[in-house]
C-alpha cells in the first residue's frame, strides 16, 4: 500500500490505430480481453491494489463503451469521494475553443485542471496497450527512493518486429538511470518501455506547461529525451507477465496463450483483476459436448466441440458446431454444424448453421461486431 497519495491517469485512446478492426467503435481501453475483461481493467486493478483512490481516464473519441464499462467505478471499488473520472474531450474546452489533442503532452495539458485540483503527491500514468498486473506500490516506492524526476517502467526487449513498431526503447547505466531513448528500433542492450510512468504531480504540471508553451507534442521525445541530462529519468525493470497488443495477430496470439495455465496464473495469480460485474450464471456443459484446452467465462452454453479457445461471456456453441483455435467474444452464437478455426469474433456475432470459416495464426479472420454470417 502506498504511503503517499497517488493519482492514476490512464490514456484510453493511445495506440488504438494498431488494432483498427477492433477499435472502430470502442477505445483501446475498452477492447475486450481474456474472457471477461477489457484492457483498462488491468491498469485500474493494479492502481486499486496499490491503494490509489483517484483515477482519471483520458479519452479522445469512441469512448461510449468505456463509459458504459466503468459506470460509477464501483466494480473496482472506485465509487469514492474522489474516485474515478472519465475526462472526456469536452472537459478540455478552453477559451481557445474545443481542442482535439495530439500526443501525450497535449493530452496531459488538456486535463491540467484535473491535475491541479488533485491533492496527490505522485501521478502514475499508464496506456491501455499492455496486458500486465504490476505491483504499483513497488514502482512508486522505487521512484521515491531513487529520487527520480520521472520513472519509466520497462521490460526486457522483444525483437518481434510488430512489437518494435511504435515502441520506445531506453538504455540505462548501472544505477538504472536512463541515458538514451530510441523510437521504433530494436537493440538488445535497450529495454522496452511499457508505457507506464511515475512522476511527481507538480513536476508533471511544470514539465507539461513548459513543453506545451513550446508547442511540443511527444512526451518521451520532447521532454524526456531532450532533457535527459538535467532530469533524472530512472528505469524500473518489471519482470512479471507482460504482453503488448500491437495488432490483431498479437491480440489473437496473446489471447490464446491464456489456455496455458502457467501463463494465465502468471497474469491472474498475483492480484485480483476487477471488472464490470455481469451476474452471468455458471457455464452449462451439455451431454455430448467435447471441450479441450479452453478458457471459458461464465454464462456460456456449450453443446458442441471447442478446442484451444477463449470464450467470453454468454456465448452459445450449439450441438454439432466445432470451434477451434478461436477467440469468441461476448454473446456470439455459433449454430449447429458451423465450423470455426483461427477466428476472432467480436461481440454479438451470429454464425449460422453449417458455415465454415477459417483463418490462420498469422492472419486470423476477424468478424465484426453484430455480424450475421
Amino acid at each position: 500500500m502506498l504511503t503517499y497519495d497517488t493519482l492514476g491517469i490512464i490514456f484510453a485512446n493511445m495506440h488504438e490505430r494498431s488494432v483498427m478492426e477492433m477499435t472502430q467503435d470502442r477505445s483501446m481501453a475498452s477492447l475486450p480481453f481474456g474472457g471477461r475483461y477489457r484492457l483498462v481493467d488491468f491498469a485500474l486493478s493494479s492502481f486499486v491494489h496499490a491503494g490509489i483512490s483517484q483515477v482519471g481516464i483520458v479519452t479522445k473519441n469512441n469512448y461510449q463503451s468505456l463509459v458504459d464499462h466503468i459506470g460509477t467505478g464501483r466494480d473496482w471499488d472506485l465509487a469514492r469521494r474522489r474516485g474515478i473520472s472519465i475526462l472526456s474531450p469536452y472537459s478540455y474546452t478552453s477559451s481557445e475553443g474545443n481542442m482535439a489533442f495530439h500526443g501525450r503532452i497535449e493530452a496531459i495539458y488538456a486535463c491540467r485542471d484535473f491535475l491541479q485540483h488533485s491533492l496527490s503527491e505522485y501521478v502514475v500514468l499508464a496506456d491501455s496497450d499492455h496486458v500486465c498486473s504490476p505491483d504499483i506500490t513497488d514502482i512508486v516506492n522505487f521512484h521515491i527512493e531513487s529520487g527520480a524526476d520521472v520513472t519509466m517502467v520497462v521490460r526486457d526487449p522483444d525483437p518481434d518486429p510488430e512489437n518494435v513498431a511504435n515502441s520506445v526503447a531506453v538504455r540505462c547505466d548501472e544505477s538504472g538511470r536512463i541515458n538514451d531513448i530510441m523510437f521504433n528500433r530494436y537493440d538488445s542492450s535497450y529495454f522496452q518501455s511499457m508505457n507506464i510512468m511515475v512522476v511527481g504531480r507538480l513536476k508533471l504540471l511544470e514539465l507539461v506547461e513548459e513543453a506545451s508553451a513550446h508547442a511540443k507534442t511527444l512526451f518521451e521525445r520532447d521532454i524526456l529525451l531532450e532533457r535527459l541530462g538535467e532530469l533524472k529519468v530512472m528505469a524500473y525493470r518489471y519482470k512479471g507477465y507482460v504482453r503488448r497488443i500491437t495488432g490483431l495477430k498479437s491480440y489473437y496470439k496473446i489471447s490464446l496463450e491464456l489456455t496455458d495455465p502457467r501463463i494465465s496464473s502468471e497474469l491472474f495469480g498475483s492480484q485480483t483483476i476487477y471488472t464490470k460485474v455481469h451476474d452471468s450464471p455458471p457455464v452449462r456443459y451439455s451431454i455430448g459436448c467435447d471441450v479441450k484446452n479452453s478458457f471459458v467465462a461464465d454464462g456460456c452454453t456449450i453443446q458442441g466441440t471447442i478446442e484451444n479457445c477463449v470464450l467470453f461471456r454468454d456465448v452459445v456453441i450449439e450441438k454439432g458446431a466445432v470451434v477451434r483455435n478461436s477467440v469468441i467474444m461476448q454473446n456470439t452464437h455459433v449454430c449447429a454444424g458451423a465450423e470455426l478455426d483461427g477466428v476472432v469474433t467480436d461481440k454479438d456475432v451470429t454464425i449460422t448453421e453449417g458455415k465454415k470459416l477459417s483463418g490462420d495464426a498469422d492472419y486470423p479472420l476477424y468478424i465484426k461486431k453484430r455480424s450475421v454470417v
Binding site: 495455465p261 471488472t275 451476474d279 479441450k292 479452453s294 478458457f295
Partner: protein, 404 residues
C-alpha cells in the same frame, strides 16, 4: 413510507445440513455454482421492486453478514430503505434471543414501523425459487385478504410432509394443518406470507403476550388469525420451488440445474439471480480433461473428468481425478486419481490422491442405506482414504482411513 417491506428469516441453524452449517447460517450455504441460498429471496425482492428488506440473523451470522454487506450486489444499497441485518439486541426491559419466527419479527416491530408499510412480506432463507412478489401482492390486495400465503400443488403422497392449506373454490383458506397424517388437499405452504401490517402487528403483540405460544408463524400466528375469522387467501404459485433444508434436497436442487428439461432456469436474462462477485478469471478446461453435463464457474480448473456435477468458484480437479454427480463447493480440490461420486465437498477441502468419496446408489441393494457423502469445510482427506456413501465428515481424515 414504503408500501411493502420484506422480512427475511435467516436465523435458522439448518441443523439437517450438518457439517455444511457448522460455521455458517443456512442461508449462506452455496448453491448452483455461484450463488448462496439467500441470493434467491434477495434477488426476487429487487426484481419485484421491493427495496426494503430486514434480514433476521441469529445463528453463526458472521459470514452471512459479510456476504450481505451493504446489499450492493442486489441493488439494495439505498438511500431510503435497502437491506438491513437485524440481529437480536438488548433492550431496557432485558434481552432475548429470537424465540421463534414470529418472535423475531415481533422484536423488530420498530424497524418495520419506521417505514410505515401497508404490507409486510415474510420470507425464509432456505428456498430456491424465482418469484415476482408483486403478483402475489396484487392478489392480496384484490382479494382484500388480511394474510396471503403462497402455496403450490405437491403430490398427494408427499402432502403429509408440508403445511397443508384447505381452501374453498375462491382459494380462501378455511383450515391449516401442519404436516397432517391424512391430508385433505395438496396445496402446500411455501413459507412465503404477505400480511396487512396492521393485522400482523396486532397478532404479533397478542402472540408475544401468550406464555404458552412457541411464537411460530405456522404453529401459532396463522392459526390464531384463521380462528378469528380473518381473511386468508391462498396464492397459487406455479414454477420451480425447492426447500433445501437437508443434504439430499440441497444435492437434488443442484442436480435439477443439470436436467436438460431444465425445470429451473437461472440462464434466463430476465429476473436474474444476483450474487456477490468473487472476481475470478474464467475457468479452464485442460487438454486431457473430459467434461459432460456439468455446471462450471469462474476460477475453476479441470484437468480430470467431470460428469453431471456442479463446480463452484475456484474448484480444482487434478489430472486423473474423477468427479461425478457431486458438488465441489468454492475452492474444493480433488487430487490426482481420487474419485468423488455422489458427494458434496465443502469450501476449500482437499480430497487426497487416490482417495474415494461417496458411492453410486446402484451399488446398494437397500436404497435406504445409500446417501450423499459430505466432507465439511476446510478439511483434508488423506491419500487413499475411503469415505463411504452417506458419511458426514467433520474432521480431517488420515491417509488410508475408512469412514462410514
Amino acid at each position: 413510507m414504503k408500501e411493502c417491506v420484506a422480512m427475511l428469516l435467516a436465523g435458522g441453524q439448518g441443523s439437517r445440513l450438518y457439517a455444511l452449517t457448522q460455521n455458517i447460517a443456512k442461508p449462506a450455504v452455496p448453491y448452483g455454482g455461484k450463488y448462496r441460498i439467500i441470493d434467491f429471496p434477495l434477488s426476487n425482492c429487487t426484481n419485484s421492486g421491493i427495496d426494503t428488506v430486514g434480514v433476521l440473523t441469529q445463528y453463526q451470522p458472521l459470514e452471512l453478514n459479510e456476504y450481505i454487506g451493504n446489499g450492493r450486489p442486489w441493488d439494495l444499497d439505498r438511500l431510503d430503505g435497502g437491506v438491513h441485518v437485524l440481529p437480536p439486541y438488548q433492550k431496557s426491559s432485558g434481552s432475548d434471543w429470537y424465540l421463534g419466527t414470529a418472535n423475531a419479527i415481533c422484536q423488530n416491530i420498530r424497524f418495520i414501523d419506521r417505514y410505515d408499510p401497508q404490507y409486510v412480506l415474510i420470507l425464509s432463507g432456505d428456498h430456491i425459487y424465482k418469484m415476482d412478489y408483486r403478483r402475489m401482492l396484487d392478489v392480496h390486495k384484490a382479494s382484500h385478504a388480511d394474510c396471503t400465503i403462497s402455496v403450490m400443488k405437491v403430490p398427494m403422497e408427499e402432502a403429509s410432509r408440508f403445511g397443508i392449506m384447505n381452501a374453498d373454490e375462491n382459494d380462501i383458506i378455511y383450515e391449516f394443518e401442519e404436516k397432517p397424517k391424512n391430508p385433505k388437499s395438496d396445496l402446500a405452504s411455501m413459507g412465503i406470507y404477505i400480511f396487512s401490517w396492521d393485522v400482523l402487528r396486532e397478532y404479533l403483540l397478542k402472540d408475544d403476550a401468550d406464555p404458552d405460544s412457541e411464537h411460530d408463524f405456522g404453529k401459532n400466528v396463522i392459526p390464531a388469525i384463521l380462528n378469528d375469522g380473518k381473511r386468508l387467501k391462498a396464492y397459487r404459485f406455479e414454477g420451480y420451488w425447492k426447500d433445501v433444508g437437508t443434504i439430499a434436497s440441497l444435492w437434488d436442487a443442484n442436480m435439477d440445474l443439470l436436467n436438460p428439461s431444465r425445470p429451473f432456469d437461472v440462464w434466463a436474462k430476465e429476473n436474474r439471480i444476483y450474487s456477490r462477485p468473487q472476481s475470478l478469471p474464467p475457468h479452464f478446461i485442460a487438454e486431457g480433461a473430459k467434461v459432460e453435463n456439468s455446471l462450471i464457474t469462474e476460477g475453476s480448473q479441470v484437468f480430470g473428468e467431470v460428469e453431471s456435477s456442479v463446480l463452484f468458484g475456484g474448484a480444482y480437479v487434478e489430472e486423473g481425478a474423477e468427479v461425478s454427480f457431486s458438488l465441489l463447493l468454492p475452492g474444493a480440490r480433488v487430487k490426482k486419481g481420487a474419485k468423488v461420486r455422489y458427494s458434496i465437498i465443502a469450501e476449500n477441502s482437499v480430497v487426497g490422491e487416490g482417495a474415494s468419496v461417496g458411492a453410486s446408489p446402484e451399488e446398494f441393494s437397500q436404497i435406504d442405506d445409500w446417501g450423499i457423502a459430505v466432507v465439511g469445510p476446510g478439511l483434508k482427506v488423506g491419500r487413499n482414504a475411503d469415505i463411504k456413501a452417506n458419511a458426514m465428515i467433520y474432521d480431517d481424515v488420515q491417509e488410508g482411513e475408512v469412514k462410514c
